[in-house]
Amino acid sequence: MGESGISKLLMDMDSPSGIVLIETPGVMGEEVALELVKAYKGEKKVAFITPKQKRMFKGNPEFSDMDVKVIGEDIHPQELYQITFAFRNLTRKSKIALLSLHFLLVFHPAEVVYKLFSELTKISIDKDLLLIATVDYRILDLKSLAMFEGLATHVLEILEVINGFKIKRGIRVKKSPTGGTGFYEISLMEGKIQVGEPIE
């Protein structure tokens, strides 16, 4: 990763605790979230994932220690209290939690999901947990997005630019205790996130 803002962000989080919000178009953010999770080897992790991600996790030794709760099987987006309940019941040993917010936003207004996220951030701080949440920013207006950003300690933003037949993706640290950065090129190579040169 070199001396990019992303590596600085990872160094910020040597002792896992905090709220990371990844704003993404599509599922690129989930790949970045998994990359962040991989950095914390040996820590107990819990992930609230989709059935599609479950297939991705299956048989991957890197996620064998992860406690998985599948959206649509173990918890349902219509019943938000199930998520709060699952978070409250996490043991002190759990250090990292992963959650996609856009599935909740399909069924509930942004204000309701914001209240849930606010509750989850409080629980995460109490339990000394690192919460990594992803959200597809295209379905949120700027005001709602700003509300979610307000609760996060770190905000990563992923951008997609279509140039002819090529899609260029960029990532930046939008908010962190050490400040933000400009956009860096990002690509997915053989299942690994590669952060490249800064984008002008």
Binding site: V27, T50, P51, P77, F107, P109, A110, D136, R138, I139
Partner: protein, 203 residues
């Protein structure tokens, strides 16, 4: 006739996209499979009912065809009720008020005859519901949300235009009205296809 067929085809496409969206969502919801199956049945009933209206081959009575389409529309809309996503805001109430005020022209003897107004109003109501229902799922960008809201207002405006079209001597006016419907439906279908695209990337 051809323009009417094209408009209905676009409306069917919208219903089909709604079915596809809920088919994607069913894996994330409780009893999602049953709800998706009921909605599919509703979609088939709507398409069947309206196709019969175009070419009534089995010679079914008109009220029965309306009943089939009506139950179909209810089943298409059922998942919104089941998932508790129905949100009736001030804008929707205003639109419904404008819509229900349109028969006043018929009562005053200046609008479309009752035999034409009642099925027309029911169709417009069903279309307004279907178009606005897509707003209840938060899968829109600000742009597609604006498109859907514009489409819903065009549909509301068409409830008053219907009376004008029935009374006019201008032979082109019914086609202009159809063009309005068509534009509203294109906005709706475009927004639904965008929703489906987003959902397709997540699931």
């Amino acid at each position: 006739m051809l323009t009417l067929l094209v408009t209905k085809f676009v409306a069917f496409e919208g219903i089909l996209l709604l079915l596809l969206i809920f088919n994607k969502l069913r894996r994330y919801t409780m009893r999602g499979r049953v709800v998706a199956m009921l909605q599919l049945l509703g979609g088939i009933m709507v398409i069947f009912g309206y196709t019969l209206q175009i070419k009534n081959l089995p010679r079914l009575p008109e009220p029965l065809m309306f009943l089939i389409s009506g139950i179909g529309f209810f089943l298409v809309a059922y998942p919104f009720v089941y998932y508790k996503t129905v949100r009736v805001g001030r804008e929707y109430i205003l639109q419904l008020s404008i819509l229900f005020a349109s028969p006043v022209l018929t009562l005053l003897g200046r609008g479309a005859p009752f035999s034409m107004m009642i099925p027309g109003l029911l169709l417009i109501m069903a279309m307004l519901f279907a178009v606005r229902a897509s707003l209840w799922l938060n899968l829109h960008t600000p742009f597609t949300r604006a498109l859907v809201r514009t489409a819903s207002w065009i549909i509301v405006a068409s409830s008053w235009m219907m009376h004008l079209a029935a009374r006019t001597t201008n032979p082109w006016l019914p086609y202009y009205l159809l063009l309005l419907y068509f534009t509203a439906l294109i906005f709706w279908v475009y927004s639904l296809s965008k929703m489906y695209d987003y959902l397709g990337r997540w699931t």
